[in-house]
Each structure stands twice: as structure tokens, then as C-alpha cells.
């Protein structure tokens, strides 16, 4: 009897998490809408064209994309219930994500040190908030991955751990999808 409830749990939780991801899309859409409206309000300061370092952003994009791929490899290993492979690919995903984040932080840092901070103009406020919110999500994902790795290592493939690995992979893929749009609309379009 209890078993039936647990499998039901999986499909319920998957749907619930998916609905949450949809709400997160609306959150990002609000920030995108604001960015779209305010991106030209540079208040005499620099526009994106002048401060975006496109090659660096391209590297960040490839890093994140690769980590999305390695997350897929995590899920394949979960399917085979191969604990060590899962931990390996999870660690690689984590490292790629952390590299992405550190590049982003150094990008922000150099902008601020050059005098272009979030306080300088509406454009910069909306830029830092949109990209920064994505970065915060990445940070949350890294924390989550760490906890999951620990749980997997200590408890093995329990129902909860397996389900949560699946949810994490969804979350990480979703973050890469959001990044596609940040990359395109903020950075690529911004340098035109």
C-alpha cells in the first residue's frame, strides 16, 4: 500500500516542480520585460556595447552548456544506478557551474571597479538584476547539488534521492535555457 503512494509521489512532485519552473520563467520574464524597457536608459553612462566582453561571455555560455550536457550524463548514470558515475558527473557539473559563476563574478567586479555599478543608471540596474538573479539561481543549484551528492554518497539511491536528482537536472537544464535568452538578448543584441 505504501509503495503505491510513493510512486504516485514521484509524478506529483515532478509536476509540482515543473509548475514551479514555469513560475520561475514568469519571474525572469518580468525582469526581461524591465530590461527591455530600461536598456536604453543609460543616463549618459555606457551602454552594453561599451562594457560587454563578448568573448568572455561566449566562454561562460559554453561552460554552462557543457554542464547542462553533463547533467544529462548524471541522469543516464542514475538510470543505471551507478553511484560512482553519478558522483563523478555531478562533480564535473558542479565544477563547470562554479567556473561559470566565478567568471560572471569577475565580470561584475571589473564593471563595478570601472565605475559602472548597479547604482549608475537604470540600464545597469536592470542588467545586474537580470543577470544576477540568474547567477543566484546557479548558486542555489550548486548548493543543492552539493547536498544531493552528500545524500547519495551516504544513503544511496533511495526513492527521495533518485527523484531529487531528476528534479535537479530539470532545474539545471532550465537555468541553461534561461541563459540562452540572456546571452542572446542582453549580450549579443546589446553589442549591436
Amino acid at each position: 500500500m505504501t509503495n503505491i503512494i510513493k510512486t504516485e509521489d514521484s509524478s506529483k512532485t515532478l509536476l509540482g516542480f515543473w509548475v514551479y519552473l514555469m513560475t520561475d520563467c514568469v519571474l525572469f520574464a518580468s525582469l526581461f520585460a524591465t530590461y527591455a524597457v530600461l536598456q536604453n536608459n543609460t543616463y549618459g553612462g555606457p551602454s552594453g556595447k561599451q562594457i560587454f566582453d563578448l568573448p568572455n561571455i561566449f566562454i561562460e555560455t559554453i561552460l554552462l552548456l557543457t554542464s547542462s550536457f553533463t547533467t544529462g550524463l548524471v541522469m543516464l548514470a542514475v538510470k543505471k544506478r551507478n553511484k560512482n558515475t553519478v558522483l563523478l558527473w555531478l562533480a564535473i557539473t558542479w565544477v563547470l557551474g562554479a567556473l561559470f559563476l566565478s567568471l560572471e563574478i569577475s565580470e561584475f567586479r571589473s564593471m563595478v571597479l570601472a565605475g559602472n555599478s548597479w547604482r549608475s543608471s537604470a540600464f545597469l540596474s536592470s542588467f545586474f538584476t537580470l543577470v544576477g538573479t540568474h547567477g543566484l539561481h546557479i548558486l542555489a543549484g550548486l548548493l543543492w547539488a552539493g547536498v544531493l551528492a552528500f545524500q547519495l554518497a551516504t544513503k544511496g539511491f533511495t526513492e527521495n534521492v533518485t527523484r531529487r536528482l531528476h528534479l535537479f537536472s530539470l532545474f539545471w537544464h532550465f537555468l541553461d535555457i534561461i541563459w540562452i535568452f540572456i546571452f542572446t538578448i542582453v549580450y549579443l543584441r546589446g553589442t549591436l
Binding site: 509524478s11 520585460a33 563578448l54 544529462g72 541522469m75 541553461d176 542572446t184 538578448i185 549579443l188
Partner: protein
């Protein structure tokens, strides 16, 4: 979407294919912008189109959307999300741009106002 049902889309093939396609789409967009060989509007259409393509690639190859069994609530939720964010983003852009009509932003010139009001000189 369930890890326990047989979904033949969740395979090394799908992830690798998705990865390669995404790299290509990203690189093409990046190179197009670096070369800056077309006019701005065309380039914007290209990169947005490439982004949409990559969205579909990742939804199919990474997230396996469409492989789940009925009822397809995930698809419906996503559809509703797209409707809402389209209305929100494009609606806001339309509204805020029109508001500039009465309070012209610094980059809006007199010429635009005259054209809009079809003022004859």
C-alpha cells in the same frame, strides 16, 4: 518525465545530439554578431531565431518534452506560461513605448512626434 518508464529519448544519443546542436547554434549566433555583416534588424532576427531553435533543441533533447505519457499537464503548463510571458513582455514593451509618446525619452526626436501626429508643415 518519469525516470522509471521506458523513454527511449533519454539516451546518450539524445544528450550528445542536443549538446552538439546547441554548441553550433550558440557559435553561429556569436560569430554573426562578431562579424556584424548585416544590418541590425536582420541580425536581431537571426539571433532570436537561433535562440528559439536552441530552446526547442534543449526542450526535446535535454528535457525530453513530449515523451511523457498522457495527460500532458507539463505541456499545457508550459503553453500557458508562454502565453503569459508573451503578453507580459510584448505588452509591456508596447505600453511603455507608447507612454514615451506623451513623455518623450531623451532619444526621441521632434521628428518622430511630428510624423506620429501627421502634422503638416
Amino acid at each position: 518525465m518519469s525516470t522509471d518508464t521506458k523513454t527511449n529519448t533519454e539516451s546518450i544519443w539524445s544528450y550528445s545530439m542536443g549538446f552538439v546542436l546547441s554548441i553550433c547554434l550558440t557559435s553561429i549566433a556569436y560569430l554573426l554578431i562578431r562579424q556584424n555583416g548585416h544590418n541590425k534588424t536582420t541580425l536581431v532576427w537571426y539571433i532570436v531565431g537561433l535562440a528559439m531553435a536552441q530552446l526547442v533543441v534543449q526542450l526535446v533533447f535535454f528535457i525530453h518534452l513530449g515523451a511523457e505519457s498522457k495527460p500532458r499537464w507539463n505541456k499545457l503548463a508550459m503553453l500557458f506560461m508562454f502565453v503569459v510571458i508573451s503578453i507580459l513582455v510584448f505588452g509591456s514593451m508596447w505600453i511603455m513605448n507608447s507612454l514615451n509618446y506623451n513623455h518623450p525619452a531623451m532619444n526621441m526626436t521632434d521628428g518622430e512626434v511630428i510624423k506620429d501626429e501627421i502634422i503638416k508643415r
